[in-house]
Symmetry: C2
Subunit: 300 residues, 2 copies
Protein backbone atom coordinates (compact mmCIF):
# COMPACT_ATOMS: atom_id res chain seq x y z
CA UNK A 1 0.00 0.00 0.00
CA UNK A 2 1.22 3.46 -0.79
CA UNK A 3 0.03 7.00 -1.31
CA UNK A 4 0.50 8.97 -4.51
CA UNK A 5 1.64 12.60 -4.33
CA UNK A 6 -1.89 13.48 -5.28
CA UNK A 7 -3.30 11.45 -2.33
CA UNK A 8 -0.91 13.17 0.04
CA UNK A 9 -1.84 16.59 -1.27
CA UNK A 10 -5.49 15.82 -0.73
CA UNK A 11 -4.85 14.61 2.79
CA UNK A 12 -2.84 17.70 3.57
CA UNK A 13 -5.63 19.94 2.32
CA UNK A 14 -8.22 17.93 4.22
CA UNK A 15 -6.39 18.26 7.54
CA UNK A 16 -5.51 21.91 7.00
CA UNK A 17 -9.17 22.61 6.28
CA UNK A 18 -10.34 20.68 9.35
CA UNK A 19 -7.85 22.45 11.58
CA UNK A 20 -8.21 26.00 10.31
CA UNK A 21 -11.87 26.07 9.32
CA UNK A 22 -13.39 23.78 11.93
CA UNK A 23 -11.32 22.99 15.03
CA UNK A 24 -9.56 26.30 15.63
CA UNK A 25 -12.65 28.47 15.00
CA UNK A 26 -14.67 26.26 17.35
CA UNK A 27 -12.28 27.07 20.22
CA UNK A 28 -11.12 30.60 19.46
CA UNK A 29 -11.78 33.45 19.98
CA UNK A 30 -14.69 32.34 22.19
CA UNK A 31 -12.40 30.66 24.72
CA UNK A 32 -10.23 33.70 25.38
CA UNK A 33 -10.78 34.84 28.94
CA UNK A 34 -10.43 38.60 28.64
CA UNK A 35 -11.22 39.04 32.32
CA UNK A 36 -8.70 36.77 34.03
CA UNK A 37 -6.45 35.77 31.16
CA UNK A 38 -5.93 32.23 29.92
CA UNK A 39 -8.60 30.16 28.21
CA UNK A 40 -12.01 28.76 29.09
CA UNK A 41 -11.72 25.37 27.41
CA UNK A 42 -14.09 22.98 29.16
CA UNK A 43 -16.88 22.97 26.62
CA UNK A 44 -19.73 20.80 25.44
CA UNK A 45 -20.11 19.90 21.74
CA UNK A 46 -22.38 22.91 21.20
CA UNK A 47 -19.71 25.18 22.62
CA UNK A 48 -21.43 25.79 25.96
CA UNK A 49 -18.98 26.18 28.83
CA UNK A 50 -19.37 23.30 31.29
CA UNK A 51 -16.67 24.38 33.74
CA UNK A 52 -14.70 27.60 34.09
CA UNK A 53 -11.71 25.94 35.81
CA UNK A 54 -8.41 25.91 34.01
CA UNK A 55 -6.30 22.78 33.56
CA UNK A 56 -2.67 23.87 33.41
CA UNK A 57 -1.58 21.35 30.73
CA UNK A 58 -4.10 22.63 28.27
CA UNK A 59 -3.48 26.29 29.09
CA UNK A 60 0.10 25.58 28.03
CA UNK A 61 -0.83 23.55 24.97
CA UNK A 62 -3.31 26.15 23.76
CA UNK A 63 -0.70 28.89 24.19
CA UNK A 64 1.64 26.75 22.10
CA UNK A 65 -1.06 26.14 19.47
CA UNK A 66 -1.93 29.80 19.00
CA UNK A 67 1.74 30.80 18.91
CA UNK A 68 2.51 28.04 16.42
CA UNK A 69 -0.39 29.00 14.17
CA UNK A 70 1.02 32.53 14.19
CA UNK A 71 4.55 31.29 13.53
CA UNK A 72 3.70 28.83 10.79
CA UNK A 73 0.33 29.57 9.18
CA UNK A 74 -0.42 33.28 9.20
CA UNK A 75 0.59 36.37 11.16
CA UNK A 76 -2.90 36.81 12.52
CA UNK A 77 -3.04 39.34 15.34
CA UNK A 78 -5.86 37.47 17.08
CA UNK A 79 -3.65 34.42 17.47
CA UNK A 80 -0.73 36.37 18.89
CA UNK A 81 -2.93 38.26 21.33
CA UNK A 82 -4.59 35.00 22.30
CA UNK A 83 -1.21 33.37 22.90
CA UNK A 84 -0.24 36.25 25.19
CA UNK A 85 -3.38 35.69 27.28
CA UNK A 86 -2.32 32.11 27.98
CA UNK A 87 1.35 32.84 28.47
CA UNK A 88 0.64 35.60 30.98
CA UNK A 89 -1.87 33.46 32.86
CA UNK A 90 0.65 30.63 33.19
CA UNK A 91 3.26 32.97 34.63
CA UNK A 92 0.92 34.80 36.94
CA UNK A 93 -1.02 31.91 38.47
CA UNK A 94 0.33 28.48 37.63
CA UNK A 95 3.60 28.33 39.56
CA UNK A 96 3.72 27.39 43.23
CA UNK A 97 6.18 29.09 45.61
CA UNK A 98 8.52 26.10 45.31
CA UNK A 99 8.71 26.68 41.49
CA UNK A 100 6.73 23.51 40.75
CA UNK A 101 3.63 24.11 38.67
CA UNK A 102 0.03 23.42 39.57
CA UNK A 103 -2.16 20.97 37.66
CA UNK A 104 -5.56 22.61 37.95
CA UNK A 105 -6.56 26.15 38.97
CA UNK A 106 -9.78 28.17 39.20
CA UNK A 107 -10.80 30.68 36.56
CA UNK A 108 -9.14 33.45 38.56
CA UNK A 109 -6.00 31.41 39.09
CA UNK A 110 -6.39 29.98 42.58
CA UNK A 111 -4.68 26.59 42.87
CA UNK A 112 -6.92 23.51 43.14
CA UNK A 113 -4.53 20.65 42.57
CA UNK A 114 -0.81 19.96 42.20
CA UNK A 115 0.48 16.59 41.06
CA UNK A 116 3.57 14.49 41.66
CA UNK A 117 4.89 14.75 38.10
CA UNK A 118 6.13 17.53 35.89
CA UNK A 119 4.02 17.53 32.73
CA UNK A 120 2.58 20.99 33.48
CA UNK A 121 6.19 22.17 33.29
CA UNK A 122 6.86 20.50 29.92
CA UNK A 123 3.79 22.15 28.40
CA UNK A 124 4.91 25.46 29.84
CA UNK A 125 8.22 25.06 28.03
CA UNK A 126 6.62 24.52 24.61
CA UNK A 127 4.19 27.38 25.29
CA UNK A 128 6.91 29.83 26.30
CA UNK A 129 9.24 28.79 23.47
CA UNK A 130 6.62 29.16 20.74
CA UNK A 131 5.34 32.39 22.26
CA UNK A 132 8.89 33.77 22.46
CA UNK A 133 9.28 33.19 18.75
CA UNK A 134 5.91 34.69 17.90
CA UNK A 135 6.32 37.77 20.08
CA UNK A 136 10.07 38.23 20.10
CA UNK A 137 9.83 38.38 23.91
CA UNK A 138 13.31 37.58 25.24
CA UNK A 139 12.08 36.90 28.74
CA UNK A 140 9.74 34.20 27.40
CA UNK A 141 12.72 32.55 25.71
CA UNK A 142 14.72 32.62 28.89
CA UNK A 143 11.76 31.26 30.90
CA UNK A 144 11.37 28.39 28.43
CA UNK A 145 15.05 27.52 28.81
CA UNK A 146 15.02 27.79 32.58
CA UNK A 147 11.95 25.57 33.03
CA UNK A 148 13.35 23.11 30.47
CA UNK A 149 16.36 22.85 32.81
CA UNK A 150 13.97 22.04 35.68
CA UNK A 151 12.34 19.33 33.57
CA UNK A 152 15.74 17.82 32.76
CA UNK A 153 16.54 17.76 36.48
CA UNK A 154 13.31 15.86 37.17
CA UNK A 155 13.76 13.54 34.19
CA UNK A 156 17.32 12.60 35.09
CA UNK A 157 16.49 12.15 38.77
CA UNK A 158 18.74 15.02 39.83
CA UNK A 159 15.61 16.54 41.39
CA UNK A 160 12.95 14.33 42.93
CA UNK A 161 9.20 14.71 43.23
CA UNK A 162 7.23 12.95 45.97
CA UNK A 163 6.78 9.35 44.79
CA UNK A 164 3.34 7.85 44.12
CA UNK A 165 4.56 4.29 44.69
CA UNK A 166 6.99 2.63 47.08
CA UNK A 167 10.35 1.42 45.75
CA UNK A 168 9.29 -2.23 45.88
CA UNK A 169 8.68 -2.67 42.16
CA UNK A 170 10.64 -0.09 40.25
CA UNK A 171 9.26 0.93 36.88
CA UNK A 172 9.82 3.59 34.27
CA UNK A 173 7.25 4.97 31.86
CA UNK A 174 7.51 5.95 28.21
CA UNK A 175 5.77 9.27 29.00
CA UNK A 176 8.83 11.11 30.26
CA UNK A 177 11.30 10.36 27.41
CA UNK A 178 8.56 10.84 24.85
CA UNK A 179 7.24 14.19 26.08
CA UNK A 180 10.74 15.43 26.87
CA UNK A 181 11.79 14.61 23.30
CA UNK A 182 8.89 16.68 21.99
CA UNK A 183 9.55 19.48 24.47
CA UNK A 184 13.17 19.67 23.31
CA UNK A 185 12.09 19.60 19.65
CA UNK A 186 9.75 22.53 20.18
CA UNK A 187 12.37 24.44 22.12
CA UNK A 188 14.96 23.83 19.39
CA UNK A 189 12.57 24.68 16.58
CA UNK A 190 11.34 27.93 18.08
CA UNK A 191 14.26 29.48 19.89
CA UNK A 192 17.14 27.01 19.69
CA UNK A 193 18.91 25.52 22.67
CA UNK A 194 22.27 23.77 22.77
CA UNK A 195 21.11 21.00 25.07
CA UNK A 196 18.38 19.72 22.77
CA UNK A 197 20.12 17.54 20.18
CA UNK A 198 22.01 15.48 22.71
CA UNK A 199 18.99 14.95 24.95
CA UNK A 200 16.70 14.09 22.04
CA UNK A 201 19.16 11.40 20.94
CA UNK A 202 19.32 10.08 24.50
CA UNK A 203 15.53 9.93 24.88
CA UNK A 204 15.02 8.24 21.52
CA UNK A 205 17.67 5.67 22.51
CA UNK A 206 15.87 5.10 25.77
CA UNK A 207 12.56 4.46 23.99
CA UNK A 208 14.16 2.19 21.41
CA UNK A 209 16.25 0.24 23.91
CA UNK A 210 13.72 -0.25 26.68
CA UNK A 211 10.19 0.22 25.38
CA UNK A 212 10.09 -1.05 21.77
CA UNK A 213 9.81 -4.87 21.69
CA UNK A 214 10.35 -6.23 18.18
CA UNK A 215 9.94 -9.88 19.20
CA UNK A 216 6.33 -9.30 20.24
CA UNK A 217 5.72 -6.28 17.98
CA UNK A 218 4.84 -3.93 20.79
CA UNK A 219 5.63 -0.56 22.39
CA UNK A 220 5.37 -0.85 26.17
CA UNK A 221 3.86 1.93 28.29
CA UNK A 222 6.06 1.03 31.24
CA UNK A 223 8.88 -1.41 31.91
CA UNK A 224 11.26 -2.43 34.72
CA UNK A 225 14.51 -0.44 34.95
CA UNK A 226 16.24 -3.11 32.82
CA UNK A 227 13.51 -2.97 30.17
CA UNK A 228 11.87 -6.26 31.08
CA UNK A 229 8.11 -6.52 31.09
CA UNK A 230 6.58 -6.26 34.56
CA UNK A 231 4.06 -9.10 34.54
CA UNK A 232 1.39 -7.37 36.61
CA UNK A 233 -1.71 -5.55 35.43
CA UNK A 234 -0.16 -2.04 35.44
CA UNK A 235 3.04 -3.27 33.83
CA UNK A 236 1.18 -5.10 31.07
CA UNK A 237 -1.21 -2.26 30.25
CA UNK A 238 -0.52 -0.70 26.86
CA UNK A 239 -1.73 2.71 25.71
CA UNK A 240 -1.70 2.47 21.91
CA UNK A 241 -2.61 6.12 21.28
CA UNK A 242 0.21 7.26 23.53
CA UNK A 243 2.75 5.03 21.78
CA UNK A 244 1.55 6.34 18.41
CA UNK A 245 2.14 9.88 19.72
CA UNK A 246 5.70 8.74 20.50
CA UNK A 247 6.06 7.44 16.94
CA UNK A 248 4.96 10.83 15.63
CA UNK A 249 7.68 12.67 17.60
CA UNK A 250 10.31 10.21 16.33
CA UNK A 251 9.16 10.69 12.73
CA UNK A 252 9.32 14.45 13.33
CA UNK A 253 12.95 13.97 14.41
CA UNK A 254 13.64 11.87 11.32
CA UNK A 255 12.53 14.82 9.17
CA UNK A 256 14.71 17.20 11.16
CA UNK A 257 17.67 14.87 10.55
CA UNK A 258 17.33 14.89 6.81
CA UNK A 259 14.96 11.94 6.63
CA UNK A 260 17.16 9.77 8.83
CA UNK A 261 16.52 6.21 7.67
CA UNK A 262 16.86 4.55 11.03
CA UNK A 263 14.46 6.95 12.71
CA UNK A 264 11.92 6.53 9.91
CA UNK A 265 12.06 2.77 10.42
CA UNK A 266 11.78 3.11 14.18
CA UNK A 267 8.81 5.49 14.04
CA UNK A 268 7.01 3.46 11.38
CA UNK A 269 7.37 0.17 13.21
CA UNK A 270 6.13 1.74 16.46
CA UNK A 271 3.12 2.99 14.54
CA UNK A 272 2.54 -0.40 12.91
CA UNK A 273 2.88 -2.34 16.16
CA UNK A 274 0.45 -0.19 18.06
CA UNK A 275 -1.98 0.24 15.20
CA UNK A 276 -2.28 -3.55 15.09
CA UNK A 277 -2.82 -3.71 18.82
CA UNK A 278 -4.90 -0.57 19.26
CA UNK A 279 -7.29 -0.52 16.32
CA UNK A 280 -10.76 -1.72 17.29
CA UNK A 281 -11.64 -4.02 14.38
CA UNK A 282 -15.25 -4.32 15.51
CA UNK A 283 -16.27 -0.72 16.10
CA UNK A 284 -13.37 1.28 14.65
CA UNK A 285 -11.28 3.78 16.57
CA UNK A 286 -8.25 3.30 18.78
CA UNK A 287 -8.76 1.45 22.06
CA UNK A 288 -7.50 3.41 25.07
CA UNK A 289 -5.90 0.39 26.71
CA UNK A 290 -4.84 -3.12 25.79
CA UNK A 291 -3.02 -5.81 27.77
CA UNK A 292 0.28 -6.87 26.21
CA UNK A 293 -0.74 -10.53 26.55
CA UNK A 294 -4.37 -9.84 25.64
CA UNK A 295 -5.57 -10.35 29.18
CA UNK A 296 -8.35 -8.14 30.50
CA UNK A 297 -7.43 -4.55 31.33
CA UNK A 298 -8.34 -2.91 34.59
CA UNK A 299 -9.27 0.46 33.11
CA UNK A 300 -12.85 1.42 32.07
Amino acid sequence: MGYSIEDLRELKNFYADQLLNDTVPFWFPRSFDKEYGGYLLMRDTDGALIDDDKAVWIQGRATWLLSTLYNTVEKKQQWLEGAKLGYDFLNKYCFDDDCQMFFHVTRDGKPIRKRRYFFSETFYVIAAAAYAKASGDEEAASNARRVFGECIAYATGEKNLAPKFTGTRKAKGIGVPMIMMNTAQQLRENIGDERCDEYITKWINEIETFFVKDDIRCVMEQVAPDGSIIDHIDGRTLNPGHAIEGAWFILHEAMHRNNDKHLIELGCKMLDYMWERGWDKEHGGILYFRDVYNKPVQEY
Copy 2:
Protein backbone atom coordinates in the same frame (compact mmCIF):
# COMPACT_ATOMS: atom_id res chain seq x y z
CA MET B 1 -45.91 -2.02 42.27
CA GLY B 2 -45.34 -4.49 45.09
CA TYR B 3 -43.95 -7.91 45.83
CA SER B 4 -45.96 -10.75 47.35
CA ILE B 5 -44.43 -12.85 50.13
CA GLU B 6 -44.06 -15.56 47.51
CA ASP B 7 -42.10 -13.21 45.18
CA LEU B 8 -39.82 -12.23 48.01
CA ARG B 9 -39.20 -15.86 48.98
CA GLU B 10 -38.26 -16.63 45.39
CA LEU B 11 -35.90 -13.68 45.21
CA LYS B 12 -34.28 -14.71 48.49
CA ASN B 13 -33.73 -18.23 47.19
CA PHE B 14 -32.43 -16.94 43.89
CA TYR B 15 -29.82 -14.72 45.52
CA ALA B 16 -28.83 -17.33 48.12
CA ASP B 17 -28.34 -19.82 45.31
CA GLN B 18 -26.28 -17.38 43.23
CA LEU B 19 -24.12 -16.49 46.20
CA LEU B 20 -23.54 -19.92 47.69
CA ASN B 21 -23.55 -22.09 44.58
CA ASP B 22 -21.99 -19.77 42.03
CA THR B 23 -20.10 -16.71 43.33
CA VAL B 24 -18.50 -18.09 46.48
CA PRO B 25 -17.39 -21.40 44.90
CA PHE B 26 -15.88 -19.47 41.98
CA TRP B 27 -13.58 -17.60 44.35
CA PHE B 28 -12.91 -20.08 47.14
CA PRO B 29 -11.06 -22.24 47.97
CA ARG B 30 -8.99 -21.61 44.81
CA SER B 31 -8.04 -18.07 45.86
CA PHE B 32 -6.61 -19.04 49.25
CA ASP B 33 -2.89 -18.37 49.22
CA LYS B 34 -1.55 -21.17 51.40
CA GLU B 35 2.00 -20.03 50.81
CA TYR B 36 1.93 -16.35 51.81
CA GLY B 37 -1.51 -16.02 53.37
CA GLY B 38 -4.28 -13.78 52.10
CA TYR B 39 -6.09 -14.27 48.81
CA LEU B 40 -5.20 -14.32 45.13
CA LEU B 41 -8.22 -12.50 43.76
CA MET B 42 -7.25 -10.91 40.46
CA ARG B 43 -8.83 -13.41 38.09
CA ASP B 44 -10.19 -13.66 34.59
CA THR B 45 -13.71 -14.99 33.95
CA ASP B 46 -12.34 -18.51 33.50
CA GLY B 47 -10.68 -18.32 36.90
CA ALA B 48 -7.13 -17.87 35.59
CA LEU B 49 -5.02 -15.64 37.81
CA ILE B 50 -4.10 -12.46 35.95
CA ASP B 51 -2.08 -10.83 38.75
CA ASP B 52 -0.79 -12.17 42.07
CA ASP B 53 -0.68 -8.76 43.76
CA LYS B 54 -2.99 -8.15 46.67
CA ALA B 55 -5.25 -5.10 46.95
CA VAL B 56 -5.70 -4.35 50.63
CA TRP B 57 -9.38 -3.32 50.43
CA ILE B 58 -10.40 -6.63 48.95
CA GLN B 59 -8.19 -8.67 51.28
CA GLY B 60 -10.22 -7.09 54.08
CA ARG B 61 -13.56 -7.49 52.36
CA ALA B 62 -12.91 -11.16 51.54
CA THR B 63 -11.89 -11.81 55.16
CA TRP B 64 -15.17 -10.20 56.19
CA LEU B 65 -17.13 -12.26 53.62
CA LEU B 66 -15.72 -15.61 54.71
CA SER B 67 -16.17 -14.77 58.40
CA THR B 68 -19.72 -13.60 57.78
CA LEU B 69 -20.60 -16.73 55.81
CA TYR B 70 -19.31 -18.72 58.78
CA ASN B 71 -21.23 -16.54 61.25
CA THR B 72 -24.52 -16.46 59.41
CA VAL B 73 -24.84 -19.31 56.89
CA GLU B 74 -23.01 -22.40 58.09
CA LYS B 75 -20.15 -23.31 60.44
CA LYS B 76 -18.00 -24.49 57.57
CA GLN B 77 -14.39 -25.04 58.64
CA GLN B 78 -13.08 -24.04 55.19
CA TRP B 79 -14.61 -20.59 55.56
CA LEU B 80 -13.16 -20.04 59.03
CA GLU B 81 -9.70 -21.21 57.99
CA GLY B 82 -9.95 -19.04 54.89
CA ALA B 83 -10.90 -16.02 56.99
CA LYS B 84 -7.85 -16.58 59.20
CA LEU B 85 -5.58 -16.53 56.13
CA GLY B 86 -6.81 -13.05 55.23
CA TYR B 87 -6.88 -11.71 58.77
CA ASP B 88 -3.31 -12.84 59.44
CA PHE B 89 -2.08 -11.42 56.13
CA LEU B 90 -3.62 -8.03 56.90
CA ASN B 91 -1.91 -7.89 60.29
CA LYS B 92 1.42 -9.15 59.09
CA TYR B 93 1.90 -7.11 55.92
CA CYS B 94 -0.66 -4.38 55.41
CA PHE B 95 0.22 -1.83 58.10
CA ASP B 96 2.97 0.73 57.61
CA ASP B 97 5.22 1.76 60.51
CA ASP B 98 3.12 4.88 61.06
CA CYS B 99 0.02 2.64 61.66
CA GLN B 100 -1.59 3.74 58.36
CA MET B 101 -2.43 0.88 56.07
CA PHE B 102 -1.15 0.24 52.56
CA PHE B 103 -3.42 0.15 49.49
CA HIS B 104 -1.68 -2.46 47.35
CA VAL B 105 1.00 -5.03 48.22
CA THR B 106 2.83 -7.85 46.44
CA ARG B 107 1.87 -11.50 46.87
CA ASP B 108 4.47 -11.83 49.65
CA GLY B 109 3.32 -8.66 51.35
CA LYS B 110 5.80 -6.03 50.17
CA PRO B 111 4.17 -2.60 49.94
CA ILE B 112 3.53 -1.17 46.47
CA ARG B 113 1.22 1.75 47.15
CA LYS B 114 -0.22 3.73 50.02
CA ARG B 115 -3.00 6.25 49.51
CA ARG B 116 -4.12 9.47 51.11
CA TYR B 117 -7.38 8.11 52.50
CA PHE B 118 -8.34 5.52 55.04
CA PHE B 119 -10.60 2.98 53.31
CA SER B 120 -8.09 0.15 53.75
CA GLU B 121 -8.54 0.78 57.48
CA THR B 122 -12.35 0.65 57.35
CA PHE B 123 -12.25 -2.70 55.55
CA TYR B 124 -9.75 -3.95 58.12
CA VAL B 125 -12.25 -3.08 60.87
CA ILE B 126 -15.10 -5.08 59.31
CA ALA B 127 -12.70 -7.97 58.61
CA ALA B 128 -11.33 -8.08 62.16
CA ALA B 129 -14.76 -7.66 63.75
CA ALA B 130 -16.39 -10.46 61.74
CA TYR B 131 -13.34 -12.68 62.20
CA ALA B 132 -13.35 -12.03 65.96
CA LYS B 133 -16.91 -13.26 66.14
CA ALA B 134 -16.21 -16.30 63.97
CA SER B 135 -13.07 -17.33 65.81
CA GLY B 136 -13.68 -15.99 69.30
CA ASP B 137 -10.25 -14.33 69.03
CA GLU B 138 -10.23 -11.52 71.60
CA GLU B 139 -7.22 -9.82 70.08
CA ALA B 140 -9.06 -9.52 66.74
CA ALA B 141 -11.92 -7.80 68.56
CA SER B 142 -9.58 -5.37 70.22
CA ASN B 143 -7.78 -4.70 66.91
CA ALA B 144 -11.13 -3.97 65.25
CA ARG B 145 -12.01 -1.47 67.99
CA ARG B 146 -8.60 0.19 67.95
CA VAL B 147 -8.52 0.70 64.19
CA PHE B 148 -12.15 1.90 64.25
CA GLY B 149 -10.91 4.57 66.66
CA GLU B 150 -8.26 5.55 64.10
CA CYS B 151 -10.93 5.78 61.40
CA ILE B 152 -13.04 8.03 63.62
CA ALA B 153 -10.04 10.26 64.18
CA TYR B 154 -9.57 10.58 60.40
CA ALA B 155 -13.29 11.03 59.73
CA THR B 156 -13.72 13.78 62.32
CA GLY B 157 -10.54 15.54 61.26
CA GLU B 158 -8.85 14.94 64.61
CA LYS B 159 -6.12 13.21 62.60
CA ASN B 160 -5.19 14.42 59.12
CA LEU B 161 -3.91 12.62 56.05
CA ALA B 162 -1.88 14.40 53.38
CA PRO B 163 -4.40 16.31 51.24
CA LYS B 164 -4.89 15.55 47.53
CA PHE B 165 -6.25 19.02 46.80
CA THR B 166 -5.48 22.54 48.01
CA GLY B 167 -7.93 24.25 50.37
CA THR B 168 -9.19 26.58 47.64
CA ARG B 169 -12.47 24.79 47.00
CA LYS B 170 -13.42 22.79 50.06
CA ALA B 171 -15.58 19.74 49.48
CA LYS B 172 -16.77 16.72 51.37
CA GLY B 173 -17.69 13.35 49.90
CA ILE B 174 -20.47 10.90 50.72
CA GLY B 175 -17.92 8.06 50.86
CA VAL B 176 -16.69 8.69 54.37
CA PRO B 177 -20.03 8.94 56.24
CA MET B 178 -21.43 6.07 54.18
CA ILE B 179 -18.59 3.62 54.67
CA MET B 180 -18.10 4.64 58.29
CA MET B 181 -21.81 3.94 58.91
CA ASN B 182 -21.39 0.45 57.47
CA THR B 183 -18.13 -0.10 59.36
CA ALA B 184 -19.85 0.81 62.63
CA GLN B 185 -22.81 -1.45 61.78
CA GLN B 186 -20.53 -4.41 61.19
CA LEU B 187 -18.57 -3.71 64.36
CA ARG B 188 -21.78 -3.45 66.39
CA GLU B 189 -23.33 -6.55 64.83
CA ASN B 190 -20.30 -8.74 65.31
CA ILE B 191 -18.69 -7.72 68.57
CA GLY B 192 -20.60 -4.69 69.85
CA ASP B 193 -19.07 -1.31 70.54
CA GLU B 194 -20.52 1.54 72.57
CA ARG B 195 -19.49 4.22 70.10
CA CYS B 196 -21.46 2.81 67.18
CA ASP B 197 -25.07 3.94 67.69
CA GLU B 198 -24.22 7.56 68.22
CA TYR B 199 -21.85 7.73 65.28
CA ILE B 200 -24.23 5.90 62.95
CA THR B 201 -26.92 8.45 63.78
CA LYS B 202 -24.46 11.26 63.17
CA TRP B 203 -23.36 9.89 59.77
CA ILE B 204 -26.91 9.24 58.60
CA ASN B 205 -27.79 12.81 59.59
CA GLU B 206 -24.83 14.06 57.63
CA ILE B 207 -25.92 12.18 54.51
CA GLU B 208 -29.53 13.29 54.87
CA THR B 209 -28.69 16.92 55.63
CA PHE B 210 -25.95 17.53 53.10
CA PHE B 211 -26.08 14.96 50.29
CA VAL B 212 -29.75 14.08 49.70
CA LYS B 213 -31.46 16.75 47.56
CA ASP B 214 -35.24 16.24 47.48
CA ASP B 215 -35.89 19.28 45.29
CA ILE B 216 -33.92 17.78 42.42
CA ARG B 217 -34.40 14.10 43.44
CA CYS B 218 -30.71 13.38 43.76
CA VAL B 219 -28.01 12.03 46.08
CA MET B 220 -24.79 14.00 45.57
CA GLU B 221 -21.38 12.33 45.57
CA GLN B 222 -19.71 15.43 46.93
CA VAL B 223 -20.84 18.85 48.15
CA ALA B 224 -19.40 22.05 49.60
CA PRO B 225 -19.03 22.13 53.40
CA ASP B 226 -22.46 23.82 53.67
CA GLY B 227 -24.09 21.18 51.46
CA SER B 228 -24.39 23.36 48.38
CA ILE B 229 -23.67 21.89 44.96
CA ILE B 230 -20.21 22.75 43.65
CA ASP B 231 -20.93 23.73 40.06
CA HIS B 232 -17.76 22.29 38.53
CA ILE B 233 -17.29 18.96 36.79
CA ASP B 234 -16.06 17.03 39.87
CA GLY B 235 -18.70 18.55 42.10
CA ARG B 236 -21.50 17.74 39.66
CA THR B 237 -20.42 14.15 39.02
CA LEU B 238 -22.82 11.61 40.50
CA ASN B 239 -22.03 7.96 41.21
CA PRO B 240 -25.44 6.27 41.23
CA GLY B 241 -24.15 2.83 42.29
CA HIS B 242 -22.31 4.36 45.22
CA ALA B 243 -25.39 6.28 46.36
CA ILE B 244 -27.47 3.09 46.09
CA GLU B 245 -24.89 1.38 48.31
CA GLY B 246 -25.50 4.19 50.82
CA ALA B 247 -29.25 3.56 50.61
CA TRP B 248 -28.63 -0.11 51.38
CA PHE B 249 -26.70 0.71 54.59
CA ILE B 250 -29.48 3.09 55.68
CA LEU B 251 -32.14 0.44 55.04
CA HIS B 252 -29.98 -1.98 57.02
CA GLU B 253 -30.05 0.52 59.89
CA ALA B 254 -33.83 0.86 59.56
CA MET B 255 -34.13 -2.91 60.15
CA HIS B 256 -31.83 -2.71 63.14
CA ARG B 257 -34.03 0.03 64.57
CA ASN B 258 -37.22 -1.99 64.42
CA ASN B 259 -38.15 -0.92 60.89
CA ASP B 260 -37.71 2.75 61.65
CA LYS B 261 -40.17 4.53 59.38
CA HIS B 262 -38.07 7.60 58.72
CA LEU B 263 -34.99 5.58 57.77
CA ILE B 264 -37.05 3.35 55.45
CA GLU B 265 -38.32 6.48 53.69
CA LEU B 266 -34.84 7.97 53.49
CA GLY B 267 -33.25 4.78 52.13
CA CYS B 268 -36.05 4.17 49.62
CA LYS B 269 -36.02 7.68 48.25
CA MET B 270 -32.22 7.59 47.84
CA LEU B 271 -32.67 4.36 45.91
CA ASP B 272 -35.46 5.82 43.78
CA TYR B 273 -33.59 9.04 43.01
CA MET B 274 -30.44 7.28 41.91
CA TRP B 275 -32.19 4.46 40.09
CA GLU B 276 -33.90 7.10 37.97
CA ARG B 277 -30.61 8.84 37.30
CA GLY B 278 -28.38 5.80 37.04
CA TRP B 279 -30.38 3.23 35.08
CA ASP B 280 -29.29 3.05 31.45
CA LYS B 281 -32.64 2.91 29.65
CA GLU B 282 -31.01 2.08 26.33
CA HIS B 283 -28.66 -0.76 27.22
CA GLY B 284 -29.67 -1.66 30.77
CA GLY B 285 -27.34 -1.64 33.76
CA ILE B 286 -26.32 1.17 36.07
CA LEU B 287 -24.19 3.96 34.60
CA TYR B 288 -21.00 4.56 36.58
CA PHE B 289 -21.25 8.34 36.39
CA ARG B 290 -23.86 10.96 35.59
CA ASP B 291 -23.76 14.75 35.78
CA VAL B 292 -26.31 16.24 38.16
CA TYR B 293 -27.43 18.68 35.45
CA ASN B 294 -27.10 16.10 32.66
CA LYS B 295 -23.99 17.71 31.25
CA PRO B 296 -21.22 15.48 29.88
CA VAL B 297 -19.12 13.61 32.44
CA GLN B 298 -15.34 13.63 32.38
CA GLU B 299 -14.93 9.96 33.29
CA TYR B 300 -14.60 7.16 30.69
